[in-house]
């Protein structure tokens, strides 16, 4: 780990400071942490999966990890670099709810056409259930992915066209306290 590697350059710092809601010192700290885990500055899909596997040993986390990876990998080069990471982190912990929802929408809109179809939602929910579903006892009305997706669509798809637009998504999420709560997981803590 060379010296150049362990610190952000001035320009990078400036850029990131501008793009995120982090202080410069915080950026440096996070960068150090990031480099410590990923010495070459990026992580690929496999590493990403491994992390998830470690955190969720009881289920199959690979699918969900892949979906999440796509969200992080903004430039779709198969790698997550620090910039992508820190921008996401900034959004997730210091962003407004609006930002967070915009960001979150990208997970569900797998083909990135601006709409979440029933199938897309089902994919994500299924992956999530596979990952952690066994660890938690779910309420009977959402104990299968199908039930959950149906419930979500009932709540979000206000115009009943079978797909959820970004607006619908935001609106629906805002109406759901538990979703907001989960979105604010990191608020104020990072």
């Amino acid at each position: 780990m060379g010296k150049a590697n362990s610190k952000l350059s001035r320009e990078e710092l400036k850029e990131l400071h501008h793009r995120t809601r982090f202080e410069k010192s915080e950026l440096q700290q996070w960068y150090k942490g990031f480099i410590k885990d990923f010495p070459n500055g990026t992580l690929d899909r496999n590493e990403f999966r491994k992390i998830y596997k470690q955190f969720f040993p009881f289920g199959d986390s690979s699918e969900f990890a892949d979906y999440v990876f796509q969200v992080f990998d903004v430039n779709s080069n198969g790698q997550i670099d620090f910039k992508e990471f820190i921008v996401a982190l900034s959004t997730s912990c210091r962003g407004e709810t609006e930002d967070k929802l915009n960001w979150t929408f990208r997970l569900y809109d797998i083909n990135q056409d601006g709409f979440i179809t029933y199938e897309e939602m089902l994919c994500i929910v299924e992956a999530l259930y596979k990952m952690v579903g066994t660890m938690v006892t779910l309420p009977p009305d959402e104990d299968t992915p199908e039930k959950r997706v149906k419930k979500l669509f009932d709540a979000m798809d206000t115009n009943r066209d079978g797909k959820v637009s970004l607006e619908e998504f935001k609106e629906g999420s805002r109406n759901e306290d538990s979703i907001l709560e989960a979105l604010n997981l990191y608020s104020g803590l990072v």
Binding site: D37, Q54, F55, V68, F72, L128, M135, L185
Partner: protein, 1342 residues
């Protein structure tokens, strides 16, 4: 079986397509192969037969030559080949799944039981076939999951973050007591094998939050571990330990509040200043959170339960965790429940920075920063206190979230600053970043070094440090508190409360730092206006005095526990505090206790509660610290004197009780705010120093009251009670002994009224403290640095002395002493009188020598006068009431003793005469005035000896007085021996007087004198003993003063103490008997007892009436702890000894066995009482025999085996077990101790009882076998990287050997035989006898 299952699983996982073999065949093959692999070869045919009966239970058992078998056999052999091929002929099966066994057991299937296992097998196969860790989850969610399993897997899957988190979450669901049981293991696991997962850390911290006791216990554990790891400060273990300790302290000292009081508190916070901003910010965040969305369950759990400390729950620079966390945020919409669930793990995990290894430097840096900020904060606080300044708010804001920690660290870092300045030494930096070290008395050597350097810094720094450094700032508050009391009598109650709150916290930096905080809270609101410039300056001066103390303490932690230890310091403070208060108001001694609620009216209940809560922590820590300090100080006192020293110490301690302290293991308080029991008193007369060569453990009787009443109320009650009794002794000339005990107690209470007296005394102590500090500087530092501190001392001394500067002629004192003697002489025959008598007798020789010394130097006289001034003050008081006289006496005695102790301590501790002389000299110097700096400078030279000797006289004399006093006490105890008394009385006088008179002429070093003083003691003792006509007394007295204590029936003792205690009438009054031990690591004892407790539980759950005694041990650090005593027990050794001594007089048979004892105690062999006792004996013998075998308890001599009143055996002292044995001699070869006398008690080998014993042994062993995993787990978890001697001494794998001993593979009938064998081989085992003989000859244990 496991192997078979493994094979089976592997076979099907690797070759799911191989269907040419029937499943049955594969099963059988696996079984067969497993048998081979495990080298328990069974015939194939047997296996097939067994399998057949299992599979087709309805069919007849196949005959041996059945065709079916042949077919099967062929199949199996073919299958075996396939299997082997698959395995690559590798039979190295790691058995990661004792779970299989466990699971099987849950299903009530024994490993050897083929029929049952079939079901099990099927289940297991099914589970194994399932992918990944799903089977594990199934186990966890099954009904068989319990805390044992959880802990097992916590241990097993250490590396797996997810599993750890899951298990920890599960563990939280179990009742706290269940987890508390595992606490040693969990701590050990956490600390010895730090890994990726933060789950366990978070879990333990959670527990700390929820239970004050656990928190305290954790702190103590951590301290002991910290010193274990102390030699490797870079190891992750050490860092983790340190971090944990810091966090625990955080919890302890945090201004933490429950979230429902948020608003209340935050208002308060902004009102009161100091460390509060953290919480303010936290609340802001919480409010922000609640604005965004209502606090969900998870959320509130996180922020409420874990929360409270932002920096603790703050997510750090942990990229993987952050990635997962963000992932779960992304998934939130899909399913908030699952998202949160996943996120929680990420959050907890994220709490630990991945930069941890680097964090060291940064941490230090941060700490420094914080120290700075806190410095400025406290500076502003200071301003605020002195004037109505409000600028502190700004600075608080700048000091960032971790500010609350800053005061904790400030001190250390302040020092670090100094040292860094002077040395630039990074090592210093390193140690100073450990705030824990301030608290843990077991400071590492580096810390000591640092302190040394801090001490030896050039004077400029010392000067520099006075007003502007954080430590001094903190002292300032102390000083201010004092000065306020001295000069301003306003706000008395508030300050008294302030004081009482502050009372126990002076010992350590952090404690003091905290006190400062508390003080700030108080003073800000009420008393800030009252403090003028005058208090300022004096406070500044006064501040220097305690600051010397901690430094000193750390610089001499081992060799020389100075008198000015925190205990006395804090006591001084209390006295001074209350004394100051009472100067204007005679009744104000308890004025602070009149109505605590009234005092706290300005504060909402929650804050008050929090204050109390924090106060409890401090007091508790301080209390145990003082207990161990006493023991440490006792060590340096000669053995004969220990008893009286202890008494004196405890009187002093009592003085500070009742207090908000409890005995954590005994206390019933569960949750955070439920009332703890309160220790109201330690019966001083019932305390006894135990027999020990190099250590000084002592036994105390702790009186507690379980009540909601506040301490103040209790104190008032106690006072009331004792004042009711007061007239009794003063009116009648022959008071009952119990009342006298009371009186001494009362006396101490009354002593507080003596404002001037206590002032003088405290100033004397202050004086000493200064000297101590000086000495350390002189001793350690370059010689030329001496002058400055001395110069500093001058003004301080004078300023602190001036208020108490009433000096009177010695004649007054003599008068006083005479009357003292008079009064005391009126009841000389009462045993409990002795301390009082002693002090009276002490007075006279002191006066005698006083007059002798009249020609001596000015310094001496001054010191004397100061001392006498106390007397004068007291004298006036005494005129008023007889009780005050007694108070005076006790106080005097107390003081003299502590004087003597201090001197002997210094004498003994300082090998070098030089430092002793310097000490002496420093004292003289401080005694006079500032100009003494010059002589003290010369004193530094080695040649200064002669010069100082004159002043040394004073010291020496005091020491001799002490010796004499002790002697006197000794003699008093023997007073029931007629004849010897008077002669030896005069003896002691003359011998005592001898050195006194000879002193002025002789220029002797401290060491010589001390030996001179001691030497008459020894022969004298011998003389007295020779004169004894009753050998029994000799035996009892000389060797085992504790025997008498243990002899007394517990209930009777409780009743006696209850009657004598001023608190005895209170409803919740209870008595605990506790041994305070130092110099020994009690962790192994505790571990052994934990195992015993588990075995006890096993037997209980199996419905076996096997008796063992569990007793509680509280580990305080790596070298001290509290041990519960077992009621109504005596060691076989001492009961034999007693019997022998009795017999020798009546010329009985020489041999006294346990059987004789039982006959003697319980009557003839056929009486009911004997039979009952015999039965009890048998049941306990079973228990301890099995334990001895399983744990390989060694060192089982009769001194370590007790017999209780009902005839139970109780084993104690588990210093040798599992792998180690005393001296590695391997003497005790027998599985357990079963000597002839035991068999005799059981009624011989053919007796009914013996058969019963045998049967119960078998049952007990089977029960243990059934739950062997539990015990193995406990041992296993403790084993790794353990520093316990039972693991260290041998390279052998303790837990493997343990497992071996359970003989799991034996069938029940085999077990029967095995136990029989053990009994036979133990029976009158030659080694057992040999060991007893050895112990007899080497240690005189009968």
């Amino acid at each position: 079986m496991c192997t078979a299952q493994l094979l089976h699983t592997r076979f099907y996982t690797q070759h799911p397509d191989r269907l040419e073999f029937s499943k049955t065949t594969v099963c059988i093959t696996c079984m067969f192969l497993a048998c081979k692999a495990e080298e328990t070869v069974k015939k194939l045919r047997d296996i097939i037969l067994a399998a057949h009966t299992v599979i087709f239970p309805e069919k007849d058992i196949l005959s041996a030559d059945d065709h079916e078998i042949e077919v099967l056999r062929a199949d199996v052999i073919r299958c075996e080949a396939a299997l082997l091929e698959m395995l690559n002929f590798c039979f190295d099966f790691p058995h990661p799944h004792p779970l299989v066994v466990k699971f099987g057991k849950c299903l009530k299937a024994y490993p050897c039981d083929f029929r049952r296992t079939h079901l099990d097998h099927a289940l297991m196969t099914f589970m194994f076939v399932m992918s990944s860790n799903a089977w594990l989850l199934r186990l966890f969610t099954s009904q068989f999951f319990n805390s044992w399993l959880a802990v097992t897997y916590l241990d097993k899957y250490l590396g797996s973050v997810g599993i750890q988190h899951y298990l920890c979450r599960e563990l939280r669901r179990f009742p706290l007591e269940e987890i508390e049981f595992f606490l040693p293991q969990l701590c050990h696991l956490l600390l010895t094998r730090p890994d990726e997962s933060v789950a366990l850390e978070a879990l333990l911290l959670d527990f700390c939050e929820s239970s004050t006791h656990i928190c305290l216990i954790m702190v103590w554990y951590l301290q002991s571990y910290l010193s274990d790891f102390g030699n490797a400060p870079h190891s992750p273990s050490f860092r983790l330990c340190r971090r944990m300790l810091v966090q625990c302290q955080e919890i302890i000292f945090s201004d933490e509040t429950v979230e429902d009081d948020q608003d209340n508190i935050s208002e308060l916070d902004s009102a009161s200043s100091g460390t509060v901003t953290v919480r303010g910010r936290m609340n802001a965040i919480r409010r922000l959170l609640s604005k965004d969305g209502p606090l969900g369950t998870m959320r509130s759990r996180l922020s409420g339960k874990l929360g409270s400390r932002l920096w603790r729950i703050q997510v750090r620079e942990n990229a993987p965790a952050a990635l997962v966390g963000m992932g779960s945020i992304l998934g939130a919409v899909a399913s908030p429940i699952l998202g949160l669930n996943a996120g929680e793990i990420a959050m907890i995990q994220g709490r630990r920075s991945r930069l941890d290894s680097q964090a060291f430097d940064t941490q230090t840096m941060i700490y420094q920063e914080r120290a700075e900020s806190s410095f400025s904060a406290s500076d502003s606080k200071l301003n605020k206190a002195n004037g109505p300044g409000t600028e502190s708010e700004d600075i608080e804001d700048s000091s960032k979230p971790a500010q609350s920690e800053a005061p904790l660290l400030a001190n250390d870092d302040g020092q670090a600053d100094q040292s860094v300045l002077s040395q630039g030494n990074t090592a210093v930096d390193l140690t100073q970043s450990l705030p824990s070290l301030a608290i843990s008395r077991s400071a590492t050597s580096t810390a000591i070094m640092t302190d040394h350097t801090a001490l030896t810094l050039p004077d400029s720094l010392l000067h520099h440090s006075s007003p502007s450094r954080p430590p001094t700032l903190e002292e300032f508050y102390q000083g201010k508190a004092f000065s306020v009391k001295r000069y301003y009598d306003l706000e008395k109650t508030r300050h008294a409360r302030n004081e009482s709150r502050n009372l126990p916290s002076s010992a350590t930096h952090s404690l003091r730092a905290h006190r400062q905080r508390a003080a700030t809270l108080e003073t800000h609101r009420g008393a800030s206006d009252d403090q003028g410039v005058g208090s300022d300056t004096v406070g500044r001066h006064g501040a220097r005095e305690p600051s010397a103390n901690p430094l000193l303490r750390q610089s001499y932690p081992a060799s020389q526990p100075p008198l000015t230890s925190p205990v006395s310091l804090s006591f001084d403070e209390t006295r001074r505090g209350s004394g100051g208060g009472s100067r204007t108001n005679g009744t104000s001694e308890f004025s602070h206790s009149d109505d605590p609620s009234a005092e706290t009216l300005p504060y909402p209940a929650t804050l008050h509660r929090n204050l109390l809560h924090r106060h409890y922590f401090q007091s508790e820590l301080q209390f145990v610290l003082s207990l161990t300090d006493i023991s440490n100080r006792l060590v340096v006192v000669s053995r004969q004197d220990r008893q009286s020293s202890l008494k004196a110490e405890l009187l002093l301690l009592n003085h500070n009780l009742p207090a908000n302290v409890c005995l954590p293991l005994w206390c019933s308080a569960k949750d955070k705010y439920s009332p703890h029991h309160k220790i109201v008193r330690i019966a001083p007369t019932d305390a006894v120093v135990l027999n020990s060569a190099e250590r000084a453990p002592y036994l105390i009787m702790v009186e507690v009251v379980e009540t909601d009443q506040s301490v103040e109320e209790l104190a008032a009650l106690g006072k009331m009670q004792s004042s009711q009794r007061l007239p009794v002794p003063s009116a009648s000339q022959k008071p009952v002994p119990t009342a006298l005990v009371d009186l001494t107690q009362q006396a101490f209470v009354a002593a507080q009224d003596l404002a001037g007296g206590s002032m003088a005394e405290s100033s004397m102590r202050l004086n000493q403290r200064e000297k101590e500090k000086e000495t350390s500087v002189l001793g350690d530092g370059p010689l030329d640095s001496q002058r400055t501190p001395v110069d500093n001392d001058g003004p301080i001394d004078s300023s602190s002395f001036s208020p108490s500067g009433q000096t009177t002629g010695t004649s007054d004192t003599i008068l006083l002493d005479l009357s003292t003697v008079d009064l005391a002489d009126q009841h000389p025959s009462v045993h409990q009188d002795s301390p009082i008598l002693d002090s009276s007798t002490v007075e006279s020789p002191r006066e005698l020598s006083n007059s002798l010394m009249a020609s001596n130097t000015h310094h001496q006289q001054e010191v004397h006068m100061r001392r006498n001034s106390t007397n004068t003050e007291d004298f006036q008081e005494r005129m008023r009431t007889a009780a005050v006289l007694l108070a005076q006496l006790a106080q005097q005695e107390e003081r003299t003793k502590s004087w003597g102790r201090w001197q002997s301590t210094s004498g003994a501790g300082n090998a070098a005469n030089l430092s002793h002389h310097l000490l002496v000299h420093g004292k003289g110097g401080a005694g006079t005035s500032g100009d003494i700096g010059v002589p003290s400078g010369t004193a530094a030279d080695g040649a200064a000896r002669t010069y100082t000797s004159a002043q040394g006289m004073e010291e020496i004399r005091a020491r001799i007085i002490q010796e004499m006093m002790m002697l006197e006490e000794q003699r008093k105890r023997l007073m029931d021996t007629p004849g010897g008394h008077s002669r030896h009385g005069s003896d002691s006088w003359s011998t005592g007087a001898g050195p006194v008179e000879s002193n002025p002429e002789v220029d002797v070093s401290g060491a010589t004198v001390s030996s001179g003083a001691l030497s008459p003691t020894v022969p004298l003792e011998g003389d007295v003993l020779e004169d004894q006509t009753l050998l029994r007394d000799k035996v009892k007295h000389k060797d085992d003063p504790s025997a008498a204590i243990f002899r007394e029936d517990w209930d009777a003792k409780v009743e006696r103490i209850r009657v004598s205690s001023p608190y005895g009438h209170l409803p919740g009054w209870r008595l605990f008997s506790v041994i305070v031990k130092t110099g020994a690591d009690l962790r192994q004892e505790q571990f052994a007892l934990q195992l015993i407790k588990e075995m006890q539980r096993i037997w209980e759950s199996e419905g076996l009436d096997i008796w063992v005694q569990y007793y509680r041990i509280l580990v305080l650090n790596d070298s001290s702890g509290l041990v519960e005593t077992i009621k109504n027990t005596m060691s076989i050794h001492s009961l034999k000894k007693e019997a022998y001594s009795r017999r020798r007089t009546s010329l009985d048979l020489p041999v006294f066995t346990l059987y004789d004892y039982y006959l003697l105690q319980y009557g003839a062999p056929n009486t009911d009482s004997f039979l009952k006792a015999q039965d009890n004996f048998m049941r306990s013998l079973v228990g301890y025999s099995l334990i001895s075998y399983i744990l390989q308890l060694k060192d089982r001599h009769n001194g370590n085996i007790l017999v209780d009143k009902e005839g139970h055996l109780v084993h104690i002292d588990f210093g040798f077990m599992l792998t180690n044995s005393p001296g590695s001699m391997g003497f005790e070869m027998a599985p357990f101790k079963l000597s002839q006398e035991y068999i005799d008690v059981l009624g011989g080998l053919d007796g009914v009882k013996f058969t019963e014993f045998r049967d119960l042994m078998v049952k007990g062993f089977l029960a243990l076998r059934k739950y062997a995993d539990n015990i193995i787990l406990l041992v296993d978890m403790m084993q790794k990287d353990s520093k316990l001697p039972c693991f260290v001494s041998s390279s052998a794998n303790a837990s493997a050997a343990l497992k071996e001993r359970f003989q799991i593979n034996l069938t029940e009938t085999q077990v029967n035989d095995y136990v029989d064998n053990m009994i036979v081989s133990s029976c009158c085992n030659v080694f057992t006898r040999l060991y007893d003989t050895f112990q007899y000859y080497s240690n005189g244990i009968l």
